[in-house]
Symmetry: C2
Subunit: 115 residues, 2 copies
């Protein structure tokens, strides 16, 4: 997974364990796609200070994931859900009963929102 996407996911999961300052700068950089220079200007700090905040915040996020593995579990669960959806689609293809297909579609929708 691309590093930027990974950090954005970790921020979503563990962001509330960071300081508000750390959270906001990581959010600016990884979610709102602001550049280091833009963040430095907005916050009235140097680019190097922004870089240090980001590094420190990232390190904490990776430490939490190392301990709790919530992202890892979420990703594994999503893969299993994709497999189940695929299997249900296969059943739909091998039956013609319209009522059955409707209830299976309904179940697929419910499974999709599990995560």
């Amino acid at each position: 997974m691309e590093e930027k996407i990974k950090i954005s996911m970790l921020l979503e999961i563990y962001g509330r364990l960071l300081t508000l300052k750390q959270y906001n700068l990581l959010d600016d950089y990884y979610n709102k796609d602001l550049s280091l220079s833009e963040i430095a200007e907005n916050e009235n700090i140097t680019r190097q200070a922004v870089r240090d905040f980001l590094k420190k915040g990232e390190k904490k996020l990776f430490e939490y994931e190392e301990k709790l593995r919530i992202m890892e579990k979420n990703i594994a669960q999503e893969e299993k859900i994709d497999e189940i959806l695929y299997e249900i689609s296969k059943i739909e293809n091998s039956f013609t009963d319209e009522k059955l297909i409707n209830v299976l579609d309904d179940i697929k929708n419910k499974i999709r929102v599990l995560i």
Copy 2:
């Protein structure tokens, strides 16, 4: 939910964020069902010291849940999974096709291990 079960679940989710000492004492008390006196004797500390360790550890667990809400999400997900399993069972009851019932059973088993 009973407080003891709740703390045991929180310990399972966030336990690695506690100190090892806190984790072990909470594990003794909430999972291994040792009494305060037994733990005090094993650890060679007073019952009051055990009580303090437990209180401090519990407080941290509740603070993590307050911020991350992983247990809350897990419980909501389990409820949705139960609903989906129930719906699939209803489909099984209204169809007689053996092949269909087998694949639905297979899907139910896969959904059961999602959590």
